[in-house]
Symmetry: C2
Subunit: 418 residues, 2 copies
């Protein structure tokens, strides 16, 4: 089964908005076995969109559009696609109700042009939109399928995940359903995984094994098609165990989005608390935990000790260590973590000190040199990292990797607690 993705929006053409929708949809389609060979971006222009539609349907069975479903006169995707199929637009009362209630809920006044959003192609499947005013829809005719979704990612993403993907899966997915398990890796790269597990990735068909790179970490998704979850897991688990044996030190968990989510989850389950003492990361270690809802049960607090003054005055790092070993030293990292733990009373304290660059590096402590430490009643660890790749944009990478290494260290320390 082949699909094309057409993203509609002048803001995409002008480059004011990066097109994250296409990647999200392409990945979602791949997961249910639908191939994408072409993606297009067009403006809010019916003539050009119609040309794109004709070209796309000449080569594909399914066309998925995002954008152009809004209330203004230049939102014309629904009108253009309906015309392509020779269908009229008719008022859908339920859509209108939902748009009205959305305006009531957000205490705004609905204007007349919003009624346009409730006009739907006759005979279509309506995709109701709990996160905005524009409903999506699916037209199915003569073996061709057009799926239209709104452009804003926070409306499109849940619509695709909860409505479009299951609809396509049911229609085109073949027998059984897809189930998967994600293996979360830290400290090993996607290309290394691909090289080591090449045969598995290329040759296996049920389950399949697919690597995904994320910032600072990567994942393998093991996916099986089966009648029910239990049968799928019977196919998936032996493969997962085989991979786990190959990487005893690099798997931090299963089915997490990111390592910070794993920290909040593991610490919550173990009823452990955490605090941070951050120099080069400037709050990033804590910040990435606070991104996760539920972090308040885990994170007691933290000290951002960007200057030696704060390292000494607030965290209690001794002046001798700062003078003799320097702020970027394993000794300083340990004292920072000890100080934060003492101040906040958390079970485990994490610290990071280093040189993010681009300036400030010396021969002894070059850009990219970072020390991270973890301190708890179970013990103390400190680790030296050398993260520079010699590129102009290393600063952000060095800070992000430092935070992820600290999170990984927190997970390893948490293992020592029952």
């Amino acid at each position: 089964m082949k699909a094309e993705i057409i993203c509609v929006g002048t803001e995409l053409l002008l480059g004011d908005v990066v097109n994250t929708n296409a990647a999200f949809i392409a990945k979602g389609l791949a997961a249910i076995g639908i191939n994408v060979y072409h993606q297009a971006v067009v403006g809010d222009n019916p003539k050009r969109l119609e040309k794109c539609l004709t070209d796309a349907f000449a080569e594909n069975d399914i066309v998925i559009t995002t954008g152009g479903l809004g209330p203004t006169y230049d939102d014309l995707t629904k009108e253009t696609v309906a015309a392509h199929f020779g269908k009229k637009l008719v008022l859908d009362e339920k859509s209108l109700e939902q748009i009205k209630s959305f305006y009531d809920r957000t205490k705004r006044v609905m204007t007349d042009n919003n009624i346009k959003q409730a006009m739907m192609p006759e005979g279509c499947t309506i995709l109701y939109n709990p996160n905005g005013t524009a409903p999506g829809c699916i037209i199915e005719e003569g073996g061709k399928v057009a799926v239209m979704m709104p452009g804003p990612p926070r409306e499109m993403l849940p619509m695709f995940e909860h409505q479009v993907s299951p609809w396509l899966e049911e229609k085109f997915g073949g027998e059984g359903k897809l189930f998967s398990k994600t293996i979360n890796f830290f400290g090993v790269g996607e290309s290394a995984l691909e090289a080591r597990l090449h045969d598995m990735i290329v040759e296996m068909t049920n389950p399949t094994v697919a690597p995904y790179a994320k910032p600072c970490e990567c994942q393998l998704r093991v996916t099986a098609r089966a009648e029910d979850e239990q049968s799928a897991m019977a196919l998936i688990n032996p493969v997962v165990e085989q991979i786990a044996e190959i990487y005893p030190d690099n798997i931090y968990g299963y089915n997490y989005q990111t390592i910070n989510e794993a920290v909040v989850d593991v610490f919550t389950k173990k009823r452990l608390t955490l605090c941070t003492a951050e120099s080069l990361t400037g709050g990033l270690i804590a910040q990435k935990l606070v991104e996760i809802s539920g972090a308040s049960a885990v994170l007691k607090g933290g000290i951002i000790s960007y200057t030696n003054e704060v390292k000494h005055g607030v965290l209690g790092v001794s002046q001798q260590i700062l003078d003799e070993k320097g702020a970027v030293s394993p000794e300083c990292a340990l004292e920072m973590a000890r100080g934060a733990r003492k101040l906040t009373g958390a079970d485990i304290a994490l610290s990071a000190t280093g040189v993010a660059g681009p300036t400030g590096g010396t021969e002894q402590t070059p850009v990219g040199r970072v020390y991270i430490a973890a301190v708890s009643e179970k013990g103390e660890v400190v680790k030296e990292l050398n993260l520079s790749r010699g590129r102009a944009d290393d600063r952000e990478m060095i800070r992000n990797y430092s935070a992820s290494h600290a999170h990984n260290m927190a997970l390893k320390m948490a293992k020592l607690f029952e």
Copy 2:
């Protein structure tokens, strides 16, 4: 002048990589007056790419590709485009030298397939690549222009900015050059700006006025075409002044990327220091400053006081305020800022306390209620924000807006210092 952007790469089609190149190039082309009406993504497949090229040149004068210039057998963009123009590939000695020296510099061994990267279409303009091994090139023939650049953004971005954009500007840019000034707004939305300044945005031609939305803030870019910078500014400045009169309270600066960059710049110039006391933002106020190189001269440090224990024990917020007014109160925000200033000795202290949600809201302090404060020798301010829009993904928005409001407050407080 019309251009199409074609991004080549199976990783884009599969959604493993978000296509940031297309937005970057589209924006760069718009800045020199070249219009983009269509963007496409195709895999590393010569037949499909050839079809894209034919379609694109049927409608456009310029086609810009990214990707597919690498050393492996499936990198075929250069071969396909050269064939489209009936051109042979010939070895370019200078490219080969540069590829060899790149391998020497990064202490890796060059393999034979890298020679393929030095094979260039005969008669093309070569775009040498200081950031990677694959050179780009420009083919010009019969009024049509094909520009090929490598796919990795850190190679493509500088190549576009320093080589492709000046080449296109010289060729198609018309008389004079483009100069622009960016007005940075906080606290007014893009659509409000568009509505208020509609006539300017739609009708003016030299200079032009264009709004850009960014997360939590927005910009107007005023761009003029003129012989030199001085003549351009003579066209730009009166328009900027006119807009500044309309928005006396919402312009935080000029020519900044983001408000955190403005804070680091203004504080550096005024030799002011800053510290933070953060509850719901969990380090984000400091974190966004640390993103900016040079932040170490400005940010002394901060306290992440995620729990009342740390608010009282470290920052010294009185137990009475925590008990009677609560942690989410203007009084607590003020005491947090005072405490951080006392601990770090910074000139200005910023604080934020509030409910990011999705849980934890009460009738008295609902989700989205945030207090931010700034404290210095010049005085104390505290502000109540109500940031909820009642959406499932509000948490991230609430925290980001809180941080930006704090930065804006820092800039206003800094104005009181000479």
